[in-house]
């Protein structure tokens, strides 16, 4: 249970700052015609042009390594940026090869892409990529085994908890939550409309408040806070202040374990605990079995 969770060095909670840098592939996956809509697509191209560098400068002041999830093809295209990110001490982790949907691929194909992604990222950053963030689509059943087989040690793709847990294969999951992402708050485009309802851009002050409220609660309960930023949404001159204020707040506590996803996953693996029967992961397996029995 949560209260029994112990973090290293008697820290109260863990905090992982992560960045998803996909160079617009998530937008293209939803609206392929963006490729020919130059104005619209440039909204996403901003990330590589300016956002990555701006986030890196902010992290420099923060003084702690972060975890970046990058599709290997994007990393190749922006090899210079990826080398800079790695040289600044951050981890470069996999976000697939070309932002593919793994639930539409045969396992053997998936395995190939997952391996190639790791190899490419390794070649560019000089460090082993051990983490994975599912690009889009559903998590295929037993996908944890494929990831393990391809050499990954952890994922930050599913939900169900606010502390790490282990899949059947031993792959560690660092659960993520939409309220701790920037995209649901800030993504906006006129045509095509993202998000669908094309709702107003929210108060920056409100977004900062929500992220702070979550952090304070994660700290109070001893949980693992995983923030997910994107260069195109958070790496702008106006919004970088939100990131700076949040990071300053997090750093103001000396009982927070500021770590990368890989560090938290390593730590969790060492504890080796197995999820109990009522853990969402186990209940999901029971649900599949139930459906199978019903025919």
């Amino acid at each position: 249970m949560t209260d029994a969770t112990k973090w290293p060095d008697r820290k109260r909670c863990a905090a992982v700052i992560s960045v998803i840098f996909d160079d617009g592939l998530d937008a293209l996956a939803q609206a392929p015609d963006l490729r020919d809509r130059s104005k619209s697509f440039s909204v996403w191209q901003y990330g590589a042009a300016r956002g990555v560098e701006r986030l890196c400068r902010t992290f420099e002041g923060f003084g702690r390594p972060t975890s970046w999830f990058v599709p290997a093809n994007v990393a190749e295209k922006h090899a210079g940026l990826v080398r800079d990110i790695a040289a600044a001490g951050h981890d470069v982790e996999s976000h697939g090869l070309a932002y593919e949907r793994y639930d539409t691929l045969a396992p053997v194909q998936s395995l190939d892409l997952l391996k190639r992604s790791r190899e490419t990222l390794h070649g560019l950053s000089g460090k082993e990529a051990t983490g994975f963030r599912l690009p889009m689509g559903n998590w295929p059943h037993r996908f944890d085994r494929l990831l393990s087989e391809a050499g990954y040690l952890w994922s930050a793709s599913l939900n169900g908890d606010d502390v790490p847990y282990s899949h059947a294969s031993g792959l560690v999951e660092l659960p993520v939550h939409m309220e701790l992402e920037d995209r649901p708050y800030f993504q906006f485009n006129f045509t095509p409309a993202f998000p669908k309802g094309q709702s107003r851009i929210p108060s920056y002050d409100g977004v900062l408040h929500n992220w702070l409220a979550e952090f304070d609660a994660y700290r109070a309960f001893g949980l693992c806070y995983v923030l997910q930023l994107r260069p195109e949404w958070s790496g702008t001159p106006g919004r970088i202040a939100i990131v700076e204020d949040l990071l300053a707040h997090i750093r103001s506590f000396d009982d927070v374990w500021l770590a990368t996803g890989a560090m938290v996953a390593d730590w969790h693996r060492a504890t080796g605990d197995v999820p109990p029967e009522q853990h969402p992961l186990k209940v999901y397996e029971a649900y599949l079995q139930e459906a199978k029995n019903l025919g």
């Binding site: 559903n138 169900g160 649901p184 609660a217 009522q278």
Partner: protein, 299 residues
Amino acid sequence: MTMLHQSDFLTSQGNALWPTGRQSAVALAFDVDGPTGDAMLDGSLLTNPRYFTQGAYGPWRALPRLLDLLSRYDLKATFFVPTWVVLHWSDNCERIVREGHEIAYHGHRHELFFECSLRQQLDIMERSRSIFKERLGVTPIGFRTPSGDWSPATAELLYDFGVIYSSSMRGDDRPYFHPAASSPHGLVEIPGRWDVDDYATLAYTEEPDFPIGLDRIADYRIVMRNWCAEFEGYHRVGLCWTTIFHPKVCAKPGRLSILEGLFLAIRRHGDAVWATRCGDIAQWWIEQHGPNANLEARP
């Protein structure tokens, strides 16, 4: 369909609706849906573990923290729980009963009662009743219809089944009776409103998109102020306020601060607020108004 409503002017005539010394009633109510609902019903959840785990977070992590918070403010609430959730998270559901809260019907897998035949509705109710009895040792008296609508015959079906109240409608700001052929009154209705459904401000899921327009997650402080304003409004006029909160939505770690602000606002009025379970309010309403319900009916 005719509903049996109380007169609008009861309170202004000094004829208090609530027990002596109580100005208003609050029935905090939570729907512990977990991963049940549309995606489970149409089978798409089978291939979507991300969505499954998001729902499962409710009974697994959010519910225990919510129960802790309620206990800290000495508040009793009503939990509407699909019995599929009771089967898979029996321990946490047991805590609801053990700590003096009320547990009530909410379908087995959050079925759309509107789309079910009367036979199917009855099957769901019977299955739920036996699971509640077997796993938790209780027979609920309340019902909240999952996903909104039910069909015109449902109220009578539930009444004949032995349910005493429902908290499913939006048609008033105080309890009222559903009509019944066999009695002066049917089910007590404890209506809620979309204003106090946390989905309207805080829920956000992609694939499946929820809410469909994918409007932004609101500033937690604004949500708290709105909910407090709703509560204060009902209290001022002396009505009955209930909520449609979902632990997986409103009892995420940081959002407990919203609930805490609300609980503080309720507690600030001391005994002037009758903060209790839906079942208590329903019983009270029947005692006070049941025998004359038909006389108070309005067209």
